[in-house]
């Protein structure tokens, strides 16, 4: 297990983790917007930049890397708050604040870096989307890939194909739930759910009557996992009630 030095503090981590984990283990705060445990690191937001030096390099030679996707190595030295790291982070947040001036999360992160107002030209059409790619990546991860990024550069957007209701979407809401700025909107009722302009039928728990899952999602999960569809239709409350009944039976036996 490699041992690293983060901000002067020694920390030992597992072989196959990334720098971000080592930084966190050492108690160093490294902000990130596009990283999510359980998804492959992406390295897009560039907030988690740190200064890193390998054991074999000269002592004063540091390279700036993103902590989220750089593998750890024995004897590494990491500095998470060097002047140029902070300066770069400030530029990134300043730019994001110009893009999303009304987004509370970005306002807060910027404020933490001492930025109250952006020094750049304000986005004439403020958006909450920071293009962190979490939504598309989680959608890929689930095996659906209903949405993707379209266009490139400044014109980049997250959208379903041809901006029409995505045929592959199963209405699982993973994209909306993972979105750090709540940019992805949806409506939910006991009967139906809409997201990305597509309407979904909700399956209700046969016993409690509460909406549990969209039909499309239950079918998708059942097909992929081999678990019967009825399992996904059962609400948590229902499952707990079922479990409680088992305990009741146990008492009777006693």
């Amino acid at each position: 297990m490699p041992t690293l030095r983060v901000n002067g503090r020694k920390v030992t981590v597992e072989e196959d983790v990334y720098l971000l984990e080592a930084c966190r283990a050492a108690g160093a705060e490294v902000p990130t917007l596009c990283n999510f445990d359980g998804l492959e690191p992406w390295g897009g937001c560039r907030l988690c930049v740190v200064d890193m030096s390998l054991a074999k390099w000269d002592d004063d030679w540091f390279k700036m890397v993103t902590a989220c996707n750089h593998p750890v190595e024995e004897g590494m030295t990491v500095i998470t708050d060097s002047e140029r790291v902070l300066a770069t982070r400030r530029v990134v947040l300043d730019l994001l604040l110009a893009r999303c001036p009304e987004t509370p999360l970005i306002q807060q992160l910027a404020r933490e870096q001492g930025i109250e107002e952006t020094s750049y030209e304000l986005n004439p059409e403020p958006t909450d989307c920071i293009l962190c790619g979490l939504c598309t990546r989680v959608c890929d991860h689930i095996g659906v890939s209903a949405i993707a990024s379209t266009d490139r550069g400044w014109g980049r957007e997250i959208a379903p194909p041809f901006n029409e209701p995505p045929p592959d979407c199963i209405g699982c809401l993973a994209c909306a739930e993972i979105c750090p700025t709540d940019h992805i909107k949806f409506t939910n009722s006991n009967i139906r759910r809409t997201i990305w302009g597509k309407e979904f039928e909700m399956l209700r728990d046969p016993k409690t009557g509460e909406a549990v899952i969209t039909r499309a999602q239950a079918e998708h999960f059942a097909a992929r996992s081999g678990v019967p569809k009825s399992y996904f239709e059962t609400s948590d409350k229902s499952k707990r009630l079922e479990l409680a009944k088992t305990f009741e039976k146990l008492q009777v036996v006693k």
Binding site: G43, G44, C45, R46, L47, V49, M64, V65, T66, N69, H70, P71, R84, A87, T88, R90, V91, V92, L95, L96, A98, R99, S119, Y120, E121, I130, L131, G133, A148, S149, D151, R152, G153, W154, G155, R156
Partner: protein
Amino acid sequence: MRIESKDQFDALRTEAKKLEDSHKRKILVCCGTGCLATGAKEVAESFAKEIEERGLDVEVGLGVKSTGCHGFCERGPLVVFQPEGLLYTKVQAKRVPEIIEKTILGEELIPGLLYKNPADNERIPAYEEIPFYKNQVRVAMRNIGRIDPTDLMDAIAHDAYTGVAKALFEMTPDEVLDEVEVSGQRGRGGAGFYTARKWRSCKAAPGDRRFVLCNGDEGDPGAFKDRSIMEGDPHSVLEGMIIGACALGAHEGFIYVRDEYPLAVVNLQVAIVEARKLGLLGENIMGSGFDFDIQISRGGGAFVCGESSALMRSLAGKTGEPRAKYVHSTEKGLFDLPTVLNNVETWAGIGAIIHHGGAWFAAMGTKKSKGTKAFSLVGKVKNTGLIELPMGTTLRHIIFDIGGGVLKDRPFKAVQTGGPSGGCIPEDLLDLPVDYEKLTEAGSMMGSGGMIVMDDRTCMVDVARYFLGFLTEESCGKCTPCREGLKQMLAIYDALIEGRGREGDIEKIEALANGMQLGSLCELGKSAPNPVLSTLKYFRSEYEAHIRDRACPAGICRELTAFEIMDDCDGCHVCFKACPTEAIEGTIKELHVIHQDLCISCGACLDVCPTDSIRTLPKIELASREVV
């Protein structure tokens, strides 16, 4: 027929050379993209027709060949006559009968078609004597212009695939690697990583399956060297890749070409099919037992797909976006398997390195940058075109001796090297020997070898803005500093050239550039501030003039510049005709005037004025004069 042994290959080569020699006289018509655009196809067809009609092929052993780019695109269509080595420029199809009559049958030169040296107005008949060609040393482009790219036998007659034969039958894979290491060749795509080091790193990676890729996604504005190589000598690329695959033990190769290069795609495809037929590619190459095949993948033309990790993703059918390269592609590249990706020019040089030996290559160039390098010389220079020179040649030699100097003999201002991510090098660095290190030290880079010459009628703020505009369009948008930073940088530049610049803008540009250099994911974003920083470094006063004086010293930025006709105007009326908005008034032989309310500051009048009687001045100065 399939070649089954080295002896058979040698026999074929002898036969090919004999075939080549059977034509005592040859006409080589340049059919590169530039010449094709000016009518080279018709020229070649007329020659072929004339030869057939007059039976000259039998009578005087005359043959005509459509070759790849001769490089001197400025003067196209180009026709070379062999064995005399005579060059005719700007040849049109209608003059073909005359050429046959006079030059071929009558042994008489047509002066109007000869190259005129702009330095002394002398006509130079011999190809080899023209400064543009005389000073070149061609390695990667060794056969371009000499062979018909669609004719494999022609290529073999000019030593194509001899490197493959040598590598397969006379050398072990490790010896091939050693030879490449001795050559000291570095990647010609721009970054300049040592070829041998890259190969060794891939070879050391675990696994049985590995790939050899060719990067033909050249996308820099003004660069066309890879295009010319793929179009004019596709076999040199295939040869290099086969040798590389042999050294690495790879059996699959891909050439990633942008779809905007249709001729390159066709010629490569023809070359691959022909080479497969002869057993030079595919299973059991030349009977050696070594298998290697190449496929072409056509790119959609995104600039960022020239970046290695984006290229590999695009090749694998995913969105062409870069990834962090903390794990090198030599270990985890295409399909997460060990991969070597080299530029077209790099591969094209490998065959020659193996054929002539690494030491031969290393004898050329500078201490750290060996061999020769191809450059696309464009912009305000007399002889534009494609050139190949030993590393370490000075910029002055390239621009003034080979390029013939600045167009219209205007003062030289700067040369932009390395494509959109390169930088501008000013006049006092003209004696800089061109190699990887020296260009980087000067704040520019080798890049893909584009060289754009600029004269005094160039505003450096405007130049930086142009490249920023290109990169803003081409950024993939994955990472924040590049996507948002480029757009914001462009906004600042738009303000500068429109006269809305403010004190503090320069510092803001510098801080943003620094953040982009340090924070961006791939080289596109990291190097995007280069044009900004290099122009700031060498031409800071121009920025200051734009901000403080609301003036564009070069007289280019329209919002800041007014034009005025001076008293020495002789009334030639040329500007009157050139003005697109009819803002100029005046009768012939009398002083003309520009009506400022109609003038759009395009500068067309200044460019055409034969007596240099039109000058630029800041609009603000004109306005203050009117108030007085």
